[in-house]
């Protein structure tokens, strides 16, 4: 695995920006600072109307999350200049891009099925962008070789795309997009073309590359877990509009609609695993069924959380945390409780159970989660 050769430095570098508890989404520099992305995308196509405002500061990783047909890909194509805007504006690092043709935009795109040029080697695919921007052939290839090396693909430089595995092709596509030094990196369903096994590895690698990326990264996905792991801010879209945006943990604990409650129904934490125990950065431990070592993500759905008024004794659940109810929101026949305390988390329970527990903001409750209902994966 090329993975293991990655230094631990870049893992550590990302730890501090991936804290789970921050409720306020990181705002980009306000109007006037100019750095980063400031866009309002209006695209009208027949009866469909896309109207989304997107802002992001350099270094941000933003995920556009939503069901099929929500307009995510249209938004991405509008940012790349592949779809003309019917209205709104698009500024990147202070420069107006509304009317700039795609080839002149400092925007890199990783397409869903990568679209590596089948007749060119991996090296020449990556060198394509620099070549188009006027770099001499030998120099462009040297730059491409550095990128491939950074992606751990040095030995595949001469390979044609059809000889690459899905994960390798994904990294070549990423290298190709990054080789033009974009100020905005767009990723369209970056993990959708991969099978479940490679997906976890590639996701972990992609996360590190995105964390290293110094400009704005925006990815489109319909998979909430991918969005929550890869991005530090989610923008949830439905029917061409933004329905909610914020940090993953904020949205998970304060979903604005039933749909979002279902979609972003995950408690996600980052920590360091030793065997079946994952120690989170700020204290508590989570017991999982996976046997892992090193930095990991742990996730469990709000429905897996059971609440108790007294500290449960003899419970089969290995995970018990002392929490306080910070808020309650009704979603259909479910109530989502926002809990703070030892471990900030979201819990779903039925209205009946909530009534029996006499659940209201303030008092202490005990939350338990069975190890079997948690899921850990390498970060």
């Amino acid at each position: 695995m090329t993975d293991d050769r990655r230094t631990t430095d870049d893992r550590r570098a990302t730890d501090d920006r991936r804290t789970t508890g921050t409720d306020t989404p990181r705002r980009p520099g306000g109007p006037g600072s100019g750095a980063g992305l400031d866009a309002r995308l209006v695209v009208e196509r027949g009866s469909f109307r896309l109207d989304v405002a997107l802002t992001a500061a350099p270094g941000d990783v933003v995920a556009l999350l939503g069901p099929n047909g929500a307009g995510k890909t249209t938004a991405l194509r509008a940012l790349a200049g592949l779809v003309p805007l019917s209205g709104g504006h698009l500024r990147l690092d202070g420069a107006e891009l509304d009317r700039t043709p795609p080839e002149s935009r400092p925007v890199g795109v990783v397409f869903q099925d990568y679209l590596l040029f089948p007749h060119l080697s991996a090296l020449d695919n990556v060198a394509f962008g620099p070549r188009c921007r006027g770099v001499r052939k030998a120099e462009a290839r040297a730059q491409a070789a550095v990128w491939l090396d950074r992606m751990g693909l040095a030995e595949h430089a001469a390979a044609k795309p059809r000889r690459l595995s899905g994960g390798q092709a994904q990294r070549v596509a990423l290298a190709r997009a990054l080789a033009t030094h974009p100020r905005l990196l767009l990723l369209d369903e970056p993990l959708a073309a991969l099978d479940a096994r490679t997906r976890l590895d590639v996701r972990a690698q992609l996360r590190r590359h995105l964390a290293d990326f110094e400009a704005v990264a925006l990815l489109v996905t319909h998979d909430p877990l991918d969005a929550m792991v890869l991005a530090d801010r989610l923008v949830v879209m439905e029917n061409g509009r933004v329905v909610q945006e914020g940090t993953p943990s904020h949205i998970a604990r304060h979903p604005r609609t039933d749909y979002i409650a279902q979609l972003v129904g995950l408690n996600l934490y980052r920590g360091r695993a030793e065997g079946h125990t994952v120690r989170l950065e700020d204290g508590p431990e989570i017991t999982t069924t996976e046997d892992l070592t090193g930095p990991v993500f742990v996730a469990f759905p709000p429905g897996a959380v059971t609440l108790h008024r007294q500290r449960p004794g003899g419970s089969s659940a290995r995970n018990v945390w002392r929490c306080e109810v910070a808020g309650l929101e009704t979603h259909g026949d479910q109530i989502r409780a926002d809990l703070t305390g030892e471990l900030p988390l979201a819990a779903d329970l039925t209205t009946v159970a909530a009534a029996e527990l006499d659940l209201r903001p303030g008092p202490t409750v005990w939350a338990t989660v069975k190890a079997a209902q948690t899921h850990a994966s390498r970060a």
Binding site: A80, G81, L82, P101, P102, E103, S104, R105, V107, G108, V109, F111, L115, F117, P118, H119, F128, G129, C132, R133, R176, A177, T180
Partner: protein, 282 residues
Amino acid sequence: MTPLGRAGAADRPRTGGPRRRRVRGTAPLPLLLPALIGLVFLVLPLLALLLRAPWRSMPDLLTSSEVWQALRLSLVCATAATAVSLVIGVPLAWLLARVEFPGRGLVRALVTLPLVLPPVVGGVALLMALGRNGVVGRWLDSWFGITLPFTTTGVVLAEAFVAMPFLVISVEGTLRAADPRYEEAATTLGASRFTAFRRVTLPLVAPGIAAGAVLAWARALGEFGATITFAGNFPGRTQTMPLAVYLALQNDPQAAVALSLVLLAVSIAVLAGLRDRWMTAS
């Protein structure tokens, strides 16, 4: 074994014999007879050509200077016509396949017209356009002193006029089948639309262009009507193989047969080449 099997199949029509034999046996006569006649109709003339070929005098006939002259002229002109078709036909195919513009259907119909137009009409039309008194030819003559009809260049033009639609249709089909998103990917990497076409699309559709070029070349090589109408029949200058065959038939039928065999051989070679191309391309 075979007669026995056939008898068995006849005795037990529902269960007997392997399926393929039964299907073959039950091909209805009203279909089978015309089908066989059709096959014979297509193959017999070619067989006759082989049967009547003056095999003994063949070496002498084929090494005569007129034959070589005609053959060389044919190859040069067909190749030049193919080159002309590639230079202007591939961009035309791209335009038809990739650019939305009003009247695109009409343009496509106009491009296809020479496919169905009698070539001799094409020759007359070329004369009206590029002849000495033609719509454009008049100015070419008086301004630049360029005369096209009855020259070798005229042969190339007549052949390109007839052959280019084959190339355009073939390349357009390949372009339509090619994923336009590769061009989009190229533009996001900083390629202009032309660079994207040159460095991405063109290599992707190269097999289709090659197949179209071979088709056009074969069509140009056999071109007769438009050539004789627009370029005439001057040995060494405009007399290509088909014209030479036609002329030879009148005073030396054996030579005509020999020349025809050469063209037949070229056709078979083209067919074989295309078969490989299409099999690897699909």
